[in-house]
Subunit: 484 residues, 2 copies
Amino acid sequence: MARKGEEKEFVKELTPKNVDFSQWYVDVIRKTDMADYTTLKGCMVIKPYGYALWENIRDQLDMRIKATGHKNAYFPLFVPESLLTLEAEHVEGFAPEVAWVTHGGNEPLEERLAIRPTSEAIICSIYAKWVQSYRDLPILINQWANVVRWEKVTRLFLRTTEFLWQEGHTCHRTLEEAQAETEKMLGVYKEFAENALAMPVIHGEKTDSEKFAGAQKTYTIEALMADGKALQAGTSHNLGQHFAKVFGIKFLDEDQSEKYVWQTSWGVSTRLVGGVVMTHGDDSGLMLPPVIAPIQAVFVPIYFSSSLEAVNDKIRELGEKLSRFRVELDLRETQTAGWKFNEWEMKGVPLRIEVGPKDIQKKQAVIVRRDTREKIFVPEEQLAEKVELLLKEIQHNLYNRALAFRNEHTTRTDNYEEFKDVLENKKGFIISGWCGSPACEQKVKEETKATIRCIPMEGREPEGAVCVACGKPAPSKVYFARSY
Amino acid sequence: MARKGEEKEFVKELTPKNVDFSQWYVDVIRKTDMADYTTLKGCMVIKPYGYALWENIRDQLDMRIKATGHKNAYFPLFVPESLLTLEAEHVEGFAPEVAWVTHGGNEPLEERLAIRPTSEAIICSIYAKWVQSYRDLPILINQWANVVRWEKVTRLFLRTTEFLWQEGHTCHRTLEEAQAETEKMLGVYKEFAENALAMPVIHGEKTDSEKFAGAQKTYTIEALMADGKALQAGTSHNLGQHFAKVFGIKFLDEDQSEKYVWQTSWGVSTRLVGGVVMTHGDDSGLMLPPVIAPIQAVFVPIYFSSSLEAVNDKIRELGEKLSRFRVELDLRETQTAGWKFNEWEMKGVPLRIEVGPKDIQKKQAVIVRRDTREKIFVPEEQLAEKVELLLKEIQHNLYNRALAFRNEHTTRTDNYEEFKDVLENKKGFIISGWCGSPACEQKVKEETKATIRCIPMEGREPEGAVCVACGKPAPSKVYFARSY
């Protein structure tokens, strides 16, 4: 068996993380068959392994969206130009990146149609017909859909011309209710990111300059990637009455007066797949959290001489016993065990289960963890129980590792020189005072490429902080970072 | 309680089926909040109740697509004009109904992009890069996506400018394997339609004139709607090597020779929602098969004087016991029980469970079936068991009813006068001999608006049949009908 040699050869195809993180990221995604570029500028194809991961992410979040009382619906792909341009801030934010349909069949259209870059405009125009009375409220609807934004610079999963996402759109009777919904969904995103994706996040409020185009307030969850850059992983917007007023979403309240509704919208996208890759991966490839891994455990047979059928039979038998997990039996005879080890490591499968003739004799299987590479000998009859336990342990371990990494890469300083030094060398989040002026925010961005990721929900109290840019007393501490 | 009166008023809003079937169809869909038109020509919004039904249909089919070895992936929404026009028959079939993107951001595009009307062209261009060796085959991939066809005449769910669907796209080493796949997926569609949608279908082959643009052979499942018109409910295509040759999907075979792959594609769409409505609905509204019903059982409290809290508590308790079913508790105090009965009947919920003070005393609940309106008194402790049994019975009953209807509305004749008379009066399928000539097929279509729905997989043997149009001996019997 040329196992040792193959192992090396196989792995060296991945650029090491610390040599070139961007290249490592692209290598991992392409070599694990998650996605690839197409000839269409900025459009990717999500291959089966990447799509299976997205399906699990989607199902985990969908369950939570439904459990909080929302229902799914589906709205048109097209937004007539006259609707998109109704809300001034919104169109200013999105018009530069819209794809326009000008012909249907062989006829020119009377009005150009935008392919939705986000659906506020089309959905608000429809809600205006649905809402009449306070009894029609709240409207709590979510949509899973594709959207298109004509991006200049693209990157697999993180920023693509077309991407998949969910967008919640709700209407409420009062500002307080809309604000509560905005914060509730931010909380759902945080819990989902941490428990399903094993990705710790800072949740907080965006500054005015980083708000969604048309929102009154934007909230965000911000994750820290392994290269020390932040990733905006989900946003939740209190839209106030901006859209309600231009689209005429009015209701007759109990007191017989006509009022505009208060709205929210919130979304996460296939960008999360990129976030999972960059949070947990290592030089051997992906490392997937068990909750969302397309394959949670893979059986690899260890053959010697004439043992092939006996080993395969045993693996099929054990595979049956693990039917409640997502299990793959890799019985290919065209590849060596060593080659398979590397392949499944690269694909980030949490557990590998090896079975050879000796294991059959001893009525055991050998489990190898992807996260620690620990080798565990397990009696056959305890296999299912042990797999369940290990998957939970790995899920926690990945989260705890990522949290430890974030803690190590979070620096508290109000000193601008130290701030710049951290950005260049240590990287990660920097918690600094900010006076609240857009000028200071802009200065830091221009000089350091770091932006205010959020004013955190927890730990924003100034406690004597001063603005990192101007030195004036700061009303709050904020998180800065360079970001994707 | 003004129950009787309200019941009448509520129901009279639906146009009776036999007065105007088309209007009944639109009434049912709009009044049950399944979908509605938008200001965008031919585009509909699928509302939560309709979308929940689609989600269940999708999940039922997705399970079967995966169980037969296929994996989901996601390909770009856009098809560059140069790719769409490569396969001559394909472009001729689809170009007239394509929506074209000409601008991205504020720039005109160098090449027009079609919004996918179907994805053969974009997917084949990508497969050409994926397939190198016979070891890469078969490719068994499915996509759930939105597609756009610029239709002149549209109808909710049945024909809309944008619709949702799945499209399988596979590559094989041999023609035989591609043919086997084409027929296998036709079989999956038939089993799914019959067991999940309770919709009996005739499966068979399309004539050349009804084939998919670019296919070598097209197979179909054809359902009969309650107005006697056929609905093409799913198609499976053997694409031969047409696309492989123009897109260059080649592989090095084991014998070292370079060969083109053999391909299939197959799809069903949100049209199935319309099929379910038109197969099972009645003058009271929808009647949904339990397997796909968004709500399988609804509890309606019967209140008298001060019994409200006790009844609600009991319903919550019983609801818990039915947690493995999709159950709704309708505890609204703003509506009478009679109003609720009608609403849930119209929404097609298979079982209504009434609980009042007397029922609590007797430790029972009253179940009312949507399909037979039978009233069944069930001891509380047997409720879950009984619900399970009844849901199965209703599923079978809906299928059997639809099958009986189809059998009653299937006529065997080779006589053209009788043929025309049946189309006008009895309606439904007509099994007739066909000589195989496109001219006879065309003549019948022009004179009667009936088309050959398929050459059936079962029962095509001529057994002495002659062509219904020309009287010559027929090589096979075929199914004719007017259709959607």
